[in-house]
């Protein structure tokens, strides 16, 4: 279950589970946000014996966590090796299917793409993650839907993908099986602090006493943390995807390229996204709608170019999700100084794939105050200390027409 192209893991996930068991016994943790980040954190904490309550404004995984591409190959992240160690075991550990699949192919249909993919391949090989370069013919042999326009590609001997919706529900159910509580349709409205700690979380469904809080509320983190006097710079945008009817199964479903991310699902559907995003205003109640746009047509074109032999397949749906970004686009995973029992996690565009590891990191911060398996100092909130109020404008990240965007 390990990867050809990754360093040998330091220990098995089962050993880790045994080590953490009971380390947070009787600790009451309230998690704000039932997306994949909050649920994974909740699951790791429950595995450590904590009494976990997850509060969500709606249904678990309703936002980005249930609307993403399912990709799990974020080699740039310090959490990557941990993610790779965990994913192949997640079905067994959670007790529910996630549809996790290993390895990925990225294929080029233009010389510029091929150039970039070769750069990325080298970057990975330098890090010790094995990537094999492929010729056009090699790609065509491995990707039955590829066409004559394919110039070559790369084969990640690591990484993979899973089904976001199934995985989110798997975390949620596994957390319940460990005695954790999930309270849906229950937006968090505020916090009660005492002596530099949050002692209770207020939600529409009631007041929840706690020893520690994890704020994993996606774009809504900013306003929630502002209530605690902590500034978290975030800008949210809409990202879109399309999906086709099932195609014949390819040996490796994780194929993308041509400016797209996505995968072939285990049912055979081709689910792909990419292209321009639209910056939006964040509302505390959540977005009133997540419409897709005629970008659907540009996505269809790119999928047809990526897989000429699938160009006749019907597109059956499109959708959009909201992703929040920090000023440098990297995650924040950090425990606050004041109130000192609050941990924040925002993952931008890589939260799904890294979730088995991000939950572990949050568990470590909540229980031990520091991450046990990797350095995450560069993901701390303090890197944005003193960032100007106009950071969005500087980047051109403000909504075009805030009045109707709401």
């Amino acid at each position: 279950m390990t990867y050809v192209g990754m360093p040998t893991p330091r220990e098995t996930p089962q050993e880790t589970m045994a080590k953490i068991a009971g380390t947070a016994a009787k600790m009451k943790v309230v998690i704000v946000g039932g997306g994949v980040s909050g649920l994974s954190a909740g699951w790791w904490l429950a595995r450590s014996g904590a009494e976990v309550t997850v509060l969500d404004k709606g249904i678990v995984g309703w936002e980005a966590s249930g609307r993403n591409g399912g990709g799990a190959s974020h080699y740039q992240s310090p959490l990557f090796e941990e993610e790779q160690r965990m994913w192949p075991h997640m079905d067994a550990l959670l007790g529910y299917p996630t549809e996790h699949q290993q390895e990925r192919l990225v294929i080029a249909v233009s010389p510029k793409q091929l150039n970039q993919y070769h750069y990325l391949a080298k970057m990975n090989n330098d890090m010790g993650y094995r990537v094999d370069l492929l010729s056009g013919d090699q790609v065509r042999a491995m990707v039955p839907l590829a066409g004559d326009n394919c110039l070559g590609g790369m084969h990640y001997r690591f990484g993979g993908h899973a089904n976001p919706q199934r995985s989110v529900q798997a975390y949620a159910w596994a957390l319940q099986d460990l005695g954790g509580r999930i309270v849906q349709h229950s937006p968090v409205t505020g916090f009660e602090t005492e002596g530099g700690k949050v002692v209770a979380v207020h939600a529409t469904s009631g007041r929840y006493e706690c020893d520690a809080v994890v704020v994993a509320a996606g774009p809504q983190i900013q306003a929630l943390m502002a209530k605690l006097g902590v500034e978290v710079p975030l800008a949210a945008a809409r990202a879109e995807m399309i999906v086709t009817e099932p195609a014949p199964m390819m040996p490796i479903g994780g194929v993308d390229g041509n400016g797209l991310y996505g995968r072939q699902t285990l049912r055979g559907n081709l689910a792909y996204g990419g292209g321009p995003h639209e910056w939006l205003e964040t509302l505390q109640a959540g977005p009133p709608a997540r419409p897709s746009s005629p970008l659907t047509r540009n996505l269809a074109r790119r999928v047809a170019e990526l897989f000429p032999k699938a160009a006749h397949l019907n597109v059956i749906r499109s959708w959009a999700g909201i992703v929040e970004n920090t000023p440098d686009g990297r995650p924040i995973i950090d425990r606050m100084g004041d109130p000192e029992n609050v941990t924040v996690i925002t993952m931008s565009g890589v939260g799904f794939g890294l979730s088995p590891a991000s939950g572990h990191a949050v568990r470590d911060l909540v229980v031990d105050g520091q991450c046990s398996f990797t350095d995450i100092a560069k993901l701390s909130l303090s890197r944005f200390d003193g960032i100007g109020a106009d950071w969005r404008e500087q980047r051109g990240w403000q909504p075009a027409k805030p009045d109707i965007a709401a």
Binding site: P97, A239, P291
Partner: protein
């Protein structure tokens, strides 16, 4: 100052294209209501585009799009030319519309309406997206008139997932517009006006009608219509329901009723009800309201969009369609087995749906097997979109047309609530299944191509962690950013 100088080249900006053409009025659906609206619009001097998806391509009909054809169309439907002619001939008002100056496009579907509003502001203007058998495109509108009619309501029972189980609207389309019904002898399910009219139409078109099955103890529809059916010697099977459709390689051969009667027919016509076609309204985020007397969910008040004909709601005769179909769903549910299929595209059985189980190609470890709709309902009211994601019911190529209503009814019953207590599974563009190559924008602007990135185009996002804050960081950023606009 940040590198981007206050602009984001990878944001949507002005990249979405302007419409190819613009009309004062676009009318979707060339039935009587749409035709009347188009002709009236042209009479007021407006530029009017009237489109209708009929004749739909043979492949789509095979997937029961947009109506439940149940595989009972003749091979004549594969001949696009002939079909076009037949549709044109069957509707004399089409010629009148053209004479009035209306631009008419047949074989053209509207698969999306896009408007600036909550969650989207990047459109140059509000547009309706179209496709025919060759290509997709978008047009602008001053006024949008939706006259999309109503579609078949399907409720499953043992054996319904085979050729020969079809809907009343599909039968009407095949008989009255396409002259392409392949069946000979039909059994009609239901006895309200729709079923009665279907029986009379079938008889008029020379189809043998074996009878009408009614779950209640008396015919439901208009008394005069029921009398006309009786006068035509068509029997009613009252207090009864189809228990099983039995068939062979070509589909249905006979039907066994709950009462034990066995009726030889090649086609079962589901005529329990019609559902106003609100796909476009719902997919554009428009308002909709539940009105049992008008056939279920109907469009609410949506600025700039007018709904006419059946898509605005069925004629209110004081009959509660929703209550009636819930009664049918309850009865057919009782007659079904755990392995009766609910979603045909994804082969989801009743037991799997109520058990919230994943598809068969996935394993069901003990904790998974122990989950069910009942355990899910403990976390909150059932939501069809959530159930869909877990079981795949409604995720198939028919876009949920065959099972969406039935699933909603089953969820409401499982939660012991009224039909309206369960939200409607959302419709998404494209509201018709459309091939990638047709949907594709092959004329994409240079701006779109140049600004394209696989994700957000934030260079710092992809720098390996160990290289952050080192001289290599800039090197990566430059190299990665150069690849953008692929």
């Amino acid at each position: 100052m940040h590198a981007n100088n206050g602009t984001d080249p990878h944001a949507i900006g002005t990249k979405l294209p302007a419409p190819e053409a613009r009309y004062d009025m676009v009318v979707v659906g060339a039935g009587p209501a749409g035709l009347a609206a188009a002709i009236a619009g042209a009479g007021e001097g407006k530029s009017v585009l009237l489109i209708d998806e009929n004749p739909v391509p043979g492949a789509a009909m095979g997937n029961d799009v947009p109506l439940l054809f149940g595989g009972r169309m003749t091979t004549g439907t594969q001949n696009a030319e002939r079909m076009l002619e037949t549709v044109f001939m069957s509707e004399p008002q089409l010629e009148a519309a053209m004479e009035a100056g209306v631009e008419v496009l047949l074989g053209t579907s509207a698969w999306g309406v896009y408007r600036n509003g909550p969650g989207i502001t990047g459109l140059p203007e509000n547009v309706v997206a179209l496709a025919d058998k060759d290509r997709g495109w978008i047009v602008g509108y001053g006024e949008l008139v939706l006259a999309t009619g109503a579609r078949d309501l399907a409720i499953g029972f043992p054996g319904w997932n085979q050729p020969g189980v079809m809907g009343a609207a599909a039968l009407e389309r095949l008989l009255a517009h396409y002259e392409a019904f392949a069946g000979k002898r039909v059994l009609i399910v239901g006895s309200h006006d729709l079923a009665l009219n279907t029986a009379l139409l079938a008889r008029e078109k020379g189809v043998d009608v074996a009878g009408l099955v009614e779950v209640r103890s008396a015919p439901q529809g208009d008394a005069a219509l029921a009398e006309a059916v009786r006068a035509a010697q068509i029997p009613f099977y009252l207090d009864d329901a189809p228990a099983e459709a039995i068939g062979g390689i070509d589909g249905v051969e006979r039907v066994r009723l709950r009462s034990g009667a066995v009726i030889d027919v090649d086609t079962v016509v589901l005529a329990i009800g019609l559902v106003p076609s609100i796909e476009l309204i719902d997919a554009m985020g428009g308002k909709r309201v539940l009105d049992g007397a008008r056939g279920g969910y109907i469009p609410g008040d949506n600025a700039g969009v007018t709904c006419v004909g059946d898509c605005a709601g069925l004629a209110d005769t004081g009959f509660d369609h929703v209550e009636y179909r819930m009664e049918w769903a309850g009865e057919l549910g009782k007659l079904s087995a755990p392995d009766t299929i609910v979603c045909q595209c994804e082969e989801v059985t009743r037991a799997d749906l109520l058990g919230v189980q994943p598809p068969r190609y996935l394993e069901r470890p003990a904790p998974m097997a122990a989950r069910s709709l009942d355990t899910l309902i403990q976390d909150g009211p059932p939501n069809p979109d959530q159930i869909k994601r877990l079981t795949r019911a409604g995720m198939g190529v028919c876009q949920g047309r065959r099972c969406r209503d039935q699933v909603a009814m089953m969820l409401a019953m499982a939660a012991n609530g009224p039909f309206g207590s369960v939200p409607l599974a959302t419709h998404r563009a494209p509201v018709r299944p459309l091939p990638l190559r047709i949907l594709a924008d092959w004329e994409e602007s240079e701006e779109m191509r140049a600004g394209w990135d696989v994700w957000f185009g934030i260079p710092t996002q992809w720098v390996p962690y160990r290289d952050i804050d080192t001289p290599r960081e800039r090197e990566h950023q430059t190299a990665i950013a150069e690849g953008w606009s692929l």
